[in-house]
Symmetry: C2
Subunit: 183 residues, 2 copies
C-alpha cells in the first residue's frame, strides 16, 4: 500500500462527503482521485418464525427506481452498529427483535468510497408500526425463502448490499449443525 499523502474535503453532504486524495506510486508518479467518505451503515436480515424474510421496497432517487432491499441505514455519530440495526429495523419496518446476530461486514464500493456495511440477522421478531425518516419512501413486504431466491435469480432483487448480506446469511446457515444431526 502506498500511503495517502494528502486528503482534503471538497464537498460536504447529508449522506457523504467527498475528499480529494493523492498518493505516490512505486514509479514515483503522483495519483489524485476524489474519494467518497461515508459514516458506515448497517443492513439487517429479519427472519420471521415461519422462515419468511421482511424486505422493503425503497424508492431510490440515485437510480430512479424502487428497489427490493433488506432494511438498512447509516450509522449516527458514535452509534454502535448493533444499535443502528435495532433502530433502523424498527424505523423502516416497525419490527422489534429479540436478538441481533452479527453476520459480518463488507465494503460496498471500495474503488472510490470507504462505506463499511455491518450485517445482522434479526430473530424473534415482533410486528409494530414503521416510522421512516423524512425523505424515506418505503413499502414493507414479507416474502418466503422461495420467493426471495426467485427474485435474486430473475433479476427482481438487484441491490448489491442485500445480495452480499444474503450470502453471509446463507454461509451462516451452512455452518450451523442441522436439527437432529449428531455433533
Amino acid at each position: 500500500m502506498h500511503p495517502t499523502i494528502t486528503s482534503q474535503q471538497v464537498l460536504s453532504g447529508t449522506i457523504f462527503d467527498v475528499d480529494r486524495a493523492s498518493w505516490v506510486l512505486a514509479s514515483g508518479d503522483q495519483i489524485e482521485r476524489f474519494v467518497v467518505r461515508h459514516p458506515g451503515a448497517v443492513t439487517i436480515v429479519p427472519v420471521l418464525d415461519d422462515g419468511s424474510v421482511v424486505l422493503v421496497r425503497n424508492a431510490r432517487i440515485a437510480v430512479g427506481a424502487r428497489l427490493w432491499e433488506l432494511p438498512a441505514g447509516k450509522l449516527e455519530p458514535d452509534e454502535p452498529p448493533v444499535e443502528t440495526a435495532r433502530r433502523e429495523l424498527s424505523e423502516e419496518t416497525g419490527y422489534t427483535c429479540a436478538q441481533l446476530i452479527p453476520l459480518g461486514t463488507f465494503y460496498t464500493s471500495p474503488g472510490f468510497c470507504d462505506e463499511v456495511m455491518h450485517c445482522f440477522l434479526a430473530e424473534g421478531l415482533r410486528a409494530g408500526v414503521a416510522h421512516p425518516e423524512p425523505g424515506e419512501d418505503l413499502i414493507v413486504e414479507t416474502v418466503t425463502p422461495e420467493e426471495l431466491w426467485s427474485m435474486v435469480d430473475d433479476g427482481t432483487l438487484i441491490d448489491g448490499k442485500t445480495m452480499a448480506a444474503l450470502l453471509l446469511w446463507q454461509r451462516r446457515l451452512a455452518r450451523l449443525p442441522r436439527p437432529g444431526a449428531r455433533v
Copy 2:
C-alpha cells in the same frame, strides 16, 4: 417514485461525478441530496478447469487496505459490458477466456450512487501476462473453492461486489442439472 426535479453537476472526477439532485415528497417538502454518478462497471468470476478461482489483492486507497476481490473495472464510453469484462480480466490477471456467461447485474450503493455492476462467469481460461493500468496495484492469486468460502466466513474477503457476484455464481450452480442427473 417522485421524479427528480433538478440535477446539476457539482464535481467531475476520473472515476465518478457528483450531482446535486432535488425532488418533492408527497408531503410537498423538497429534498436535496448529492448523488454520485458512475459509468457502471463489471466484475468477473474466473473459474479454472480445476475449479479454482482467480482473485486479485487490490490496493484500495479509499479504504486504506489491500482487499481480496474478483477482477473488475469500469465501463469505457459505449463499451458493451461483455467487452469490458474480457478487457479487465486480461488487464488485471493476464487470463483470456473461451466464454463469458452473464450472471446478473446489481447496484453497488443505490442509496447515493447509480453505479451498476454487470457480473460474468469466465470459463475456458488461458494464462497470460497481466498489464494493469497506471495507478492500479494488484496481486493475482488463485484459490480453491474451499479457501474462497473460508475467506468469506472468516472475514478475510470483505468486498461487497465480490460477495454479491459469488452469490449469483452460487445461484447459477444451484440451478444447473447435476452431472449424471436425469433431466
